[in-house]
Amino acid sequence: MDFDLSDDQRLLKDSVDRLMAETYGFEQRRAHMAQPDGWSRGSWAQFAELGLLGVTLPEAQGGFGGGLVEAMLVADAFGRSLVVEPYFAHAVLCAGLLRHAAEASVQDEMLPVLAAGESLFAFAHHERAARHCLSHVETTARLGEAGFVLEGRKSLVLHGDCADRLIVSARLSGGMRETNGIALFLVDAAATERRGYATQDGLRAAEITLDGVIAEVVLGLDAWPGLSRAVDEASAFLCAEAVGAMDALLALTVEYMKTRRQFGRAIGEFQVLQHRAVDMQVQLELARSMALYATMMAADPDEETRSRAISAARVQIGRSLRHVSEEAIQLHGGIGMTMEYRAGHYLKRLAMIEKSFGDTEAHLDRLAAMGTAW
């Protein structure tokens, strides 16, 4: 049992932290968001150069050769800096899907492209009536003369607006929520109809219509095991990102409390407010513990063991982030309500994380349905 970083991991952490310190201040972030895509191609190139886009990919395929701990370090740093580039969609979700659901030959072809960041990948999966059910797929795939033909509508496709390639889930057989019968395809994004928009936390997404689109590549015809694993890994990433954001937000809040004066003294001198900050710290530590747990369990190939751990982590982190972010705004007062100050941006990102790939209630339902055993 060991929570220490290896030397290589420490090096990685240092270099990501340094990149963030140099390129991702509050004003710099605003400038990134003002660029045409809503994010910075320059930052993207830097991520690629540092090896971050392939952080979990094997070196043989252009990756950094890291694992989920390395991804966690990136997540933590990106959470602190509120990174808006399509890292999560591309380098977490799609990298995981390719790794866990695609044939080896496809991986050999695609992973280097992904790691280099030349072509932008997004995961077109969610559908309107899915709510928090990951296996909900109504989009159909049927084998035509030119290959698989996809029909359906995908929704809330993170960074789908600017993606070059889409990994699309579609149903070959089975009822709309069955895990069997789900396949994954690679599709040229330009062949789809897209409606892009911003999200509350400053990222981008799209509604995507597949109207007889021909799949470029078949990733896997029985894709559920890989899909579910990739999404669980992505949840672990979100947990770590949330912890990074909460940690930074708590530090910001405590600092503010030490400087902001009301009634003739720093508000941090009021015992009531001190204890409120302590309760935030407690929630943060519980979340941090569970983010570590999620990271270490997300690689478990047994779906039930893994899902239980991930859902447990998401429940704790969902509660912690709600508590920490709401209290942070309250302790700041009016300034926390403005876009000109960092705190509100954390609130927004954290609230959106809570709703990604199953909200707290949905994960608790999943645990309750399983019956827990640990």
Binding site: T199, G334, G336, M337, M339, E340, M352, D359
Partner: protein, 400 residues
């Protein structure tokens, strides 16, 4: 002891409900129901309809357009207004500066300002908070110094809600720099077209532009614009802030939102089950409804006790209403987020929502769910933060 309303009170409620539903355009009320904001024009239109019926400023003295209503009638008016999603008559005019002028202003001020405020011919905004005077309002630094008959104001105000729409601002300024904290403050009425005023919008985290900073740089205000006596402004401000005894919890607004949550959950499918049929969701909804009922009953107790209280004397129980009222406003927006699930994410500004070619993706009202949740964080901060309310209760009720 009887919880039911009298036949007269019920008839009064019906009458108001009828007016609100038939006379205030659905175009305006629908916006509020869907979580959008009324525009300046909407606000003016609605308030003028109410004012024509004597329903804009019932809390004012009768001679200046108010109504001789019982506390219960005031309560019913407010609740029906909120349930019908009618924009509340502008609070800066109707519950803030209007009552202060009516109580403490000169006859000339009353004649000049009151009718126009009631009809929203003048749009007022508030100049109280400053960057270093938030919860601790008495530490304000904006000064007004005498220069001949005029006052000259220098300083900065902030969190001025809807200042961008306003014609006038009422300002607390320090007129005796030597006096102790709460003393030496005066209450001044300032025409926003006066030279030396700059208004800078502050974008809030819901994406809206609701508040502003206001800079005063040698702003010259005629002496007749001082309300009441010089250096007595703190008393008027306290009167103003303590004025809204029962409305502060905004229970009607939360009730309307909870109704809307139920409607939307009945329409929202989770696979082949409606969300409203999810037992976990039903329990959460029922739980919120219980909390709201408990708050409503508490408000009725406060309303009923009002008869026995000295007029104008604040009831410390209104701090309970403020604390729980803001918590439930927040809880209801969080539950609305639950209804929307992942569709809270897309961001569309209000103009796009109203006038875009295509509605935002997801359930109806999805695009306003997160902004409302973000925006409602403010209600436990402003109007005396919930921590301040607890301090009031600790002292006034528990005797600490």
């Amino acid at each position: 002891m009887d919880l039911s309303f009298t036949a007269e009170e019920r008839a009064f409620r019906e009458e108001l409900r009828d007016i609100f539903h038939t006379e205030i355009p659905e175009r305006i009320r629908g916006k509020l129901r869907h979580g959008l904001h009324a525009s300046r024009q909407d606000q003016v239109e609605a308030q003028r309809i109410l004012n024509a019926r004597g329903l804009a400023v019932p809390n004012w003295p009768v001679e200046w357009g108010g109504q001789d209503w019982s506390p219960v009638q005031h309560y019913i008016w407010q609740e029906e207004l909120q349930l019908a999603c009618v924009p509340h008559p502008l609070s800066f005019n109707c519950t803030m500066v209007g009552p202060v002028i009516a109580q403490f202003g000169s006859l000339a001020q009353k004649q000049r300002f009151l009718a126009r405020a009631a009809n929203l011919d003048d749009w007022w905004c508030q100049g109280f908070s400053e960057p270093n005077a938030g919860s601790d309002l008495a530490s304000l630094r904006t000064t007004a110094r005498r220069d001949g008959d005029d006052w000259v104001i220098d300083g900065q105000k902030t969190w001025t809600t809807l200042g961008q729409y306003a014609d006038w601002i009422f300002v607390l300024a320090r007129t005796d720099p030597a006096a102790k904290k709460q003393e030496g403050i005066s209450f001044l009425l300032v025409d926003l077209t006066t030279p030396g005023i700059t208004m800078r919008p502050i974008q809030t985290i819901d994406g809206g532009r609701e508040v502003n900073e206001v800079f005063f740089d040698g702003v010259r205000v005629p002496g007749e614009n001082l309300v009441g006596e010089v250096n007595r402004g703190w008393d008027y401000a306290k009167f103003l802030l303590g004025n809204e005894r029962t409305g502060i919890a905004r229970i009607g607004i939360t009730k309307a939102r909870v109704r809307r949550i139920r409607e939307l959950a009945e329409q929202e499918w989770d696979g082949d089950r409606r969300l409203i049929d999810d037992p976990g969701f039903r329990r959460k909804l029922a739980s919120l409804e219980v909390e709201l009922k408990a708050l409503e009953m508490t408000q009725l107790r406060v309303v009923a006790a009002e008869r026995q209280l000295e007029k104008g004397k604040p009831n410390p129980m209104s701090s309970v209403l403020k604390i729980r009222g803001s918590e439930l406003q927040q809880a209801s927006t969080a539950l609305m987020m639950d209804v929307m699930g992942p569709y809270v994410a897309p961001f569309f500004d209000e103009h796009e929502i109203e006038f875009g070619n295509e509605p935002p993706p997801g359930p109806a009202d999805a695009a306003t769910a997160a902004p409302q949740y973000f925006n409602m964080r403010k209600v436990s901060i402003y109007g005396g933060s919930n921590e301040i309310q607890r301090a009031i209760l600790a002292k006034a009720v528990l005797g600490f």
